[in-house]
């Protein structure tokens, strides 16, 4: 009997535990989660769960919690990993021995340095508890400031408006969402949110936040205003402290190979906390993506169970905002030039990013899930861009490095 300890019951830890007991019935899996709740799914927390008080917490199917093969323990924070003895120490004072260890410790919200007096007006969104507290605060007619124009901030702004609040999104960069999306996506989403009555303050400069009794005063380079609550969505930081303390190789995230193995062959990592290699980009990246977490969990689980498996997919993520479905594949910044899919509607578009050699390295899609799915499938199978997409591609006006190719060159490469 092999003993596996999984640290973290986010989607990566949860899915890995499920897979391991499915693949290897003689394995015993212990899942340790620091939050005092059963495993739950995070994507709805910034979307439907936040928008409606009628929606129940998005608990993940808890079959394995009852299964004899899995020992699930909530409210246990792991304090130390002893790699020599192959055991971890929990905040419950117990030692959990392992043959294989999986770190699925995820990330935490990046915090703003703020004076304590205004903390009860300030919200972050990471856990179910955060979401429950924020949902309480989003009462009708309240005015909500959202700091950070990334996916979380924008999704929260939609949910807040659905609950009858008015929203202002503050972004210090000149464009919202530029890091993960593209300039076209920034422009498109700015218009979408503006038409949904969201105010947007880009290039807002450093923010000063002050206590104003029942409310909070926010000052930026172009004005000041009072808000009932402030939601901060300025990114996350990977939870690498345990791995660093254990002497594992950490560089931004926990460094893993294609098999999700860390620098210790008995220790694996999966999900947002990993810094993982991609052959197509010839570099390591860290992704904040539900689907990467799931896929890495499956790869880690297989390797833990002794079945060789390899992770080498471009990260893919989605967002739902005001009835629009947005999907991003890879990182736009890795593309040397772009091509756009001809579309019959301004509400539906897809831009594909290529590297210098003409290989697909990114894509951004709005309401074009089918085409994105075709593209992802072809990349996964290392096939050329499907003809149904290649024949509709046109060099776009969105060159970021001035290397845009002619349509004929594109066809030649993708065909």
């Amino acid at each position: 009997m092999e003993r596996v300890v999984v640290i973290g019951a986010g989607v990566a830890g949860h899915r890995a535990a499920e897979e391991i007991v499915k693949l290897a019935s003689d394995f015993r899996v212990t899942v340790l989660q620091d939050e005092n709740s059963n495993p739950y799914d995070r994507p709805p927390l910034s979307k439907e769960f936040l928008a409606s008080s009628e929606i129940a917490p998005p608990l993940l199917s808890g079959q394995y919690i009852q299964s004899a093969a899995v020992d699930f323990r909530a409210n246990v924070r792991v304090e130390h990993i002893d790699r020599q003895q192959q055991a971890v120490t929990g905040s419950d004072g117990r030692r959990y021995s392992y043959d294989r260890l999986l770190l699925a410790t995820g990330s935490r919200s990046r915090l703003l340095p703020l004076p304590a007096a205004i903390n009860h007006h300030v919200h972050y969104l990471r856990t179910l508890r955060d979401a429950q507290r924020l949902r309480e605060a989003l009462q009708p007619d309240r005015r909500i400031a959202i700091i950070g124009g990334g996916f979380i901030g924008l999704e929260v702004s939609v949910a807040a408006r659905r609950r009858g609040c008015s929203t202002v999104v503050f972004e210090k960069a000149p464009f919202i969402l530029e890091r993960v999306g593209s300039r076209r996506l920034s422009d498109w989403l700015s218009q979408l949110h503006a038409s949904d009555d969201c105010e947007m303050e880009v290039n807002c400069g450093p923010l000063a936040i002050e206590d104003a009794g029942e409310r909070v005063a926010l000052k930026w380079n172009a004005g000041e205003a009072l808000f009932d609550a402030v939601v901060v969505g300025i990114g996350v930081e990977p939870n690498t402290a345990l791995a660093i303390d254990a002497g594992l190789h950490v560089d931004d995230g926990i460094v893993v190979d294609h098999e999700c193995r860390t620098s210790d062959p008995n220790v694996f990592a999966a999900g947002e906390v990993t810094s993982y290699p991609l052959r197509s980009l010839a570099r390591r990246i860290r992704s904040e993506s539900w689907s990467v977490a799931i896929a890495q969990a499956q790869v880690a689980a297989r390797n833990i169970a002794g079945i060789a498996s390899d992770y080498d997919e471009l990260p893919w993520l989605w967002s739902d905002q005001c009835d629009a479905n947005i999907q991003c594949l890879g990182m736009n910044a890795h593309a040397a030039f772009h091509a756009s899919l001809r579309s019959d509607s301004p509400e539906k578009w897809l831009d594909v990013g290529f590297d210098q050699a003409g290989k697909v390295v990114s894509a951004v899609a709005v309401n074009m899930g089918r085409e994105m799915s075709m593209l992802r499938r072809s990349l996964k199978r290392k096939e050329p861009v499907p003809a149904a997409i290649a024949s509709r591609l046109e060099p776009s006006q969105l060159a970021i490095m001035g290397h845009d190719r002619t349509e004929g060159e594109l066809r030649g490469m993708s065909g």
Partner: protein, 109 residues
């Protein structure tokens, strides 16, 4: 034909659904998908159990249909979720193909 509660509804002619293709149909309040895989016709509810989207706007790959929004995949022969974010199955319907016509047994009056 069948004594179960429900009604057999003619969906389309056999030659209107080719191998590897799917089709969306609305019958009263029901949104129904039919698929042809390995020569056989299968039918499921057409709405993803995870978020509102029509599965026929997604992608059919063998016996798996993938939702266009978040990539939830369902086995069209069982309705069970396979990969992706969905955890609930979708309804499946009995299909009969004869005399060049595809009929589906739907839970209607």
């Amino acid at each position: 034909m069948n004594k179960m509660a429900g009604t057999w509804i003619e969906m389309c002619k056999s030659d209107e659904l080719h191998e590897g293709e799917m089709k969306a149909l609305e019958v009263q309040d029901l949104r129904v998908a039919i698929y042809r895989h390995d020569g056989k016709v299968f039918s499921t509810d057409n709405v993803c159990s995870h978020a509102f989207a029509l599965l026929t706007d997604g992608w059919l790959d063998g016996h798996l249909v993938e939702c266009p929004l978040h990539g939830a995949q369902f086995d069209i022969t069982t309705g069970e979720p396979q990969n992706g974010p969905a955890t609930c199955p979708i309804a499946i319907y009995h299909v009969e193909e004869s005399d060049g016509v595809i009929r589906v047994h739907l839970p209607l009056g």
